[in-house]
Amino acid sequence: MIPAGGEKSSIIRMFHVHLNYGPKKALIDITLDIAKNQFVFISGPSGAGKTTLLKLFYYGEPVSEGQVLIDGINLNRIPRKRIPYLRRKFGIIFQDYKLIPSKTVYENVALVLEAAGKKPRLIQKKVKSVLRLVDMEDRLKSFPPSLSGGEQQRIAVARAIVGDPKIILADEPTGSLDDDSADTVLELLRGVHIRGATVIIATHDKTLIRKTGGHVLYLKQGRLETSTFIEKKYDNTIF
């Protein structure tokens, strides 16, 4: 993970990106380069700009200045019509889950595949299997508001991985989970990584980073402070 590096295999590149929310400078002069199949953490204190940075990747927000290239596409020049296709490259676990309250768990997860025009047969099989992975196969017909925080988060994880996306963006994917569930989710993300996806996790949780290891981008007040590689450490402090 070398910022502004020019490797052939990079999937996300940013050049001198700024993002302002009105007078507020949320991101300042970010330059980075994420290679295909990397496992990256974005860390930093509350309000540092982690979520905002992820937003720029999937065009959740246009940059105020600078260039973003996703899989070769320059987002400054992407036509409106192509945005849905850009977003299908991503599987996103949102910090606030963003589940549709009026749709069942099954429908929420199936939505990604339906939107991508997949066959009903395939959808059913995939959705069920992915819900089994997050241990929610018995809540298919529940509605998100009747789920616990952790359960909602696991549905969000399921939805993010169901479409076999090229890139996973996970914003605090284990914030509401106990250690066991968190490990399950982490295992899932690692599995997706092994099968070839690029995984980007925004988190403030140092334990999580230590558990897996990977490239760490450290943000502070909108600036990319450091970019280091952290080795996987087994940390077995038990309760």
Partner: protein, 293 residues
């Protein structure tokens, strides 16, 4: 593909029962207002037309007119635009009518030996030719024909009548346009509120890679269904009230003068289709707004 969209739309309607119910009720009430208004004016129009049947131009003929002259004149009058039919009234008939009409002044006719009245034509106009100007111009043309001595067409009464029907027609057009626009806006506004309260859902769909069409089409289908349901419900209520009111009223007031009629099948179909279009339009505008925001 389209069945999939239909499935999603139907599913959505059940999932958002409250919102859909409110929309359908609002549409049905709007349709109720619009269609009762139309019903009123259709029947009022029928009443006016039945009155208009009483309108006639009398053309008094010169006593010197010949039999062939009479035929020629008849054809000449009938060929005037706006004239529907005419009836020849010989002077004997005119006197008979006059006597019947003036039974309280019958003493006038007591010592009458000779009939001093002229022969005449009673001319009826077509329903469309009811404007004051139209009647006036027809009357003038008739007067200019040979053998016509004078024409008469109850000016004062007719002027008033024509004024009122014109006023009525203007008012109904103005109100019709106004009601239509108001209702379109109300329905569109309601749908906009519904979509506003579902904007989060729309936003999430976009974030997971749904195309605009994938999001919009079920909403459009819902809009069409809501429009149809609302129209059917509104018209149903109107029809029930109509049946209830007419069956309770016809006994009280003279029933044989006009027959109150319900809206024709064509109008009913038109209303349902318009309602569906408005439902769709409401979705279209609102989605455009929320998707581009």
């Amino acid at each position: 593909m389209i069945t999939l969209y239909f499935k999603r739309a139907i599913d959505d309607i059940f999932k958002n029962r409250f919102l859909n119910l409110v929309t359908v009720i609002t549409i049905s009430l709007s349709i109720l207002i619009a269609s009762s208004f139309i019903l009123f004016f259709v029947n009022a129009g029928a009443v006016i037309n039945s009155w208009k049947k009483g309108l006639r131009i009398m053309a008094y003929l010169e006593p010197t007119i010949s039999k062939t002259g009479l035929e020629e004149l008849k054809h000449a009058i009938l060929s005037i635009d706006g004239v529907q039919r005419l009836q020849y009234i010989p002077k004997q008939e005119a006197l008979r009518r006059l006597k019947a009409q003036m039974k309280h002044q019958a003493s006038l006719f007591e010592n009458l030996t000779d009939n001093p009245l002229p022969d005449s034509f009673e001319i009826r106009m077509t329903a469309i030719a009811d404007s004051w100007q139209k009647i006036e111009s027809v009357a003038a043309r008739i007067e200019s024909l040979p053998w016509v001595d004078e024409v008469e067409y109850g000016q004062r009464w007719f002027a008033r009548f024509a004024y009122i029907t014109t006023l009525f027609r203007l008012a109904s057009y103005a109100m019709g346009i106004l009601f239509f626009m108001a209702i379109v806006f109300i329905v569109a506004n309601t749908i906009r509120l519904v979509i506003y309260s579902r904007r989060e859902e729309v936003e999430i769909m976009r974030l997971v890679g749904a195309t605009d069409n994938f999001i919009k089409i079920p909403f459009y289908i819902e809009g069409l269904i809501q429009g149809a349901l609302g129209a059917i419900l509104g018209l149903g209520v109107l029809f029930s009230s109509f049946v209830f009111i007419t069956s309770n009223m016809d006994q009280g007031v003279l029933p044989d003068l006009f027959h109150l009629q319900f809206l024709s099948t064509a109008i009913v179909t038109g209303i349902i289709i318009s309602s569906m279009l408005v439902g769709w339009l409401g979705c279209y505008i609102s989605l455009k707004q929320f998707l581009n925001a």
